[in-house]
Symmetry: C2
Subunit: 243 residues, 2 copies
């Protein structure tokens, strides 16, 4: 029974009880929580209040929702280093998870203005655009949008892109990035991305943008990643530059 003398709002007390079942391991990763109506009955609260507790846990990353199927326990975050290119799949597998990449589309498009500006190429130039979806333990965790200058990698789209892109770029085209500019911030997922990840539009995500250049500072690749906010931790190692 809950202590009714406690001043903490009801929804936070419910949150605490549910959080407890998760961190203590009573509810395992990917396990489905009881239905909202069931929870409200169990705690003698309205569904609105139950939802408030659930939304709070979602914000904390402890649970996630899948469309209209229900609420589930979030699996452990993976570590992710956007500055390395040893290959997503092997990197994730090193941590004991399974990973998979799926190519959603690969096309030649007119370069978006911001990509042209960030990459220092002329506006309107045609570039390769690759859209991929990546899974961790069969859960779709990020959408990736990649832009490449065809000048550097002609015929790239003929290859299968469900594997490490950098492995391909290195072995087939002798490309090697020397420097990367990263931009990272929390952002809500817009409709197309959210849909592709099977979550609600407007749910929280983490946005990562990566601009890779070669030794001459010439743009090699620009990559935008839209992650579920609870799927990973960014882990980067930076050496000091002499100024």
């Amino acid at each position: 029974m809950m202590n009714t003398m406690e001043k903490r709002p009801v929804y936070l007390r419910v949150r605490d009880e549910l959080a407890d079942k998760i961190v203590s391991g009573i509810w395992q990763a990917n396990e489905k929580l009881p239905a909202e109506r069931q929870l409200s009955e169990q705690f003698s609260i309205t569904r609105v209040t139950a939802r408030q507790a659930l939304v709070q846990l979602e914000a904390e990353g402890l649970i996630f929702r899948s469309n209209r199927r229900g609420w589930f326990v979030t699996p452990q975050r993976i570590n992710y280093d956007p500055s390395r290119d040893i290959g997503f799949v092997s990197y994730v597998e090193e941590q004991g998870f399974s990973a998979r990449t799926e190519t959603l589309s690969k096309t030649l498009v007119e370069v978006p203005d911001w990509v042209a500006d960030a990459g220092g190429i002329a506006r309107g130039t045609p570039v390769y655009e690759i859209l991929r979806r990546r899974y961790i333990n069969e859960r779709p965790c990020l959408i990736e949008k990649i832009y490449l200058n065809p000048k550097n990698c002609p015929g790239l789209l003929q290859h299968s892109l469900n594997q490490s892109l950098w492995h391909l770029l290195r072995t087939e085209y002798q490309l090697d990035p020397a420097e990367r500019d990263l931009e990272i911030y929390p952002q809500t997922l817009d409709a197309p991305v959210a849909e592709a990840l099977g979550v609600n539009t407007g749910s929280t995500g983490l946005y990562i943008r990566r601009v890779c250049r070669d030794q001459n500072g010439e743009f090699l690749e620009i990559d935008e990643e839209f992650w579920l906010h609870n799927a990973m931790k960014v882990v980067v190692q930076v050496s000091s530059k002499s100024l």
Copy 2:
């Protein structure tokens, strides 16, 4: 009048109208939005629905709330490079904002276990712990918790710490970081941090952890930062390591 044929939920249509006033500049940064009750009347909706729209905008980072005072338009994000130590204040001022640092506490404590492990020092060792709050345009934006090995900087706490810590460490103690390990992920703000930032417990934040080492790999500083999720963008430049 809103198009009632539209399938988009009401709260998202309200969101759109409010978002429009913000991005179009009709409502300026830090301006207060109309009261929830006023909005619900204006749009002929319940307060619950109005709140749903506001919470959505909050998640997107477009507005923020201040205790029970109301909802306000979020000012522009600053760029933040956790790999540099040119000084927070000057870095922010370069971008046209004002900045200020406030020391909340400075003490000698027994090293927390995770700090000892991450820093490679013996558990139980005494270390300096510094707690600071940083403002951008007089808005509290982050809480910083710093751990330092007193061996490297004896007497540090006698200095004023409302300024660039690394300037102090360099000029007074000849310390210079060679390498930094960064860990970055979205996380909700716990009670003490949220209170110190004047926001609700459980609101979204961005967590940054930084471990600085010298050339010999010895731990110099560990720093935990708890940011408002909408206050900044992480911007890091990484040079490729030869593997």
